[in-house]
Symmetry: C2
Subunit: 258 residues, 2 copies
Amino acid sequence: MRDTDLQRVRALPLFSGVSSDVFRRLTGGAFLQRFPAGTTLLLEGDRVDFLYVLLDGTVELQGAWKDRETTLAVLRPVSTFILAAVVLDADGLMSARTLQRSEIFMLSGEVIRRTMKEDSDFAFAVSQELAGCYRGLVRSIKSQKLRTGVERLANYLITQRIRQGAEDKITLQYEKRVLAALLGMTPENLSRAFASLASHGVTVRGPTVTFSRLEALERLARPSPLIDNHMPPQNRITSKGESERWASEVARAVGYAH
Amino acid sequence: MRDTDLQRVRALPLFSGVSSDVFRRLTGGAFLQRFPAGTTLLLEGDRVDFLYVLLDGTVELQGAWKDRETTLAVLRPVSTFILAAVVLDADGLMSARTLQRSEIFMLSGEVIRRTMKEDSDFAFAVSQELAGCYRGLVRSIKSQKLRTGVERLANYLITQRIRQGAEDKITLQYEKRVLAALLGMTPENLSRAFASLASHGVTVRGPTVTFSRLEALERLARPSPLIDNHMPPQNRITSKGESERWASEVARAVGYAH
DNA sequence: CCTGCACCTTGACGAACATCAATCGATCAA
DNA sequence: TTGATCGATTGATGTTCGTCAAGGTGCAGG
């Protein structure tokens, strides 16, 4: 494992607060592993023995029932996943699958739990990370239950636009079928949703989306800081906890009215 | 505040592991408050200064957007809520409203955070609670995205039946309009969903629901341990963390196959 | 170059769901 | 008791969404 990889793990808010000594203990038995695209890292219901840290590539978290399946999240580096199952020493509720060739750092769940009980700084950092993940899911459920498919897409595009630098053009980071599952619709309906956004100045050509009438798009989308986290990319932070803290700060500064 | 109330707070998994000294510090500036039915305790977007512990009554957590609103959870004693916002010192993403006259114990968020940084046992307990809440939301999203309205209702009924003692009759714990919002549908559609379950042996009379052909209902509902947490009531545990640990143990013992 | 394949798109249709309006039943105060 | 109110239900109707089938497009391999 390269030293720069370990630096990137160290820089995560989850680990940046702990002492070098504790960090060495946490990563003692850990290892880096490479997976090709399309590999199932973890099947829902499997026991979870490791905390995963995605260092390179893309990972999809999905759930299935009967013959249906859906995507709960798509992760990009640097992200941790299945932390909740590790903390509770429980089985995973989601499957994890690589969408691209990926590098993943794996830390022993047992060591994580033991270290949490010994080091309150680390346990606090885990709590902050989990709280951030929790709030991400709250946003996701609200989006799913309160918005139609077109509205979810419109807000997704606005959020991506900000994350990609607030230009009038963005690139979709993964296949449209994956995006459809993430937004809770079929690929067919995603196509139709894009088509209906054309009248709001949205043009799609392959994976690039351009906006010509942002005002019209926002009037339809009505983004809300209580659903959409519009943290821009310059904040080089890669944790749900930190991004939630950012969102709260902004909401207070702006004085968001209900 | 009665001493028995404090005992009930102390018995929560969130607090049961800490020393008496730390518990005294946590509850030092805390106080008990009574609210009538229909009181809004917290509006989404408000800053959260307290951790709430519901000791008596019923509380609904809801979210709104444009002119729509939905229910994310209905809490019964003894439950904590808005822990995630407290940990991150962030604004709440959900509104909290009493459905019945309620007694609520309120602990200073600042003290919670400070104690977490000092006491790793408490910080670990917070992590376990948050991890349990997180997994509850994962279950909720999967149910919402993978199931139809009738399927969600059928599984809700089966879960309630187990929680209420596995008899052939249950009592709905709150108004049907609230249940409808929780299940992600309109009251009208909930009525129709109940009507369509009649052919599966489900009879509704006011708030009581009786099951005459459980086999037929389960064939339709297809409950899954990866979505539905069927923890029975005899486990007198009142935390999401503990109930998730229970669910995992059972899934392993049964050897759930995908 | 063609062929096959994967991904996306489009159209047609039906299922699931929301909305609007009317009605019924239970509760409660006058 | 009467009238009013609230919650639940039912029917009619339209929207949203999923499913099935048929193209279309880009790309890799023969």
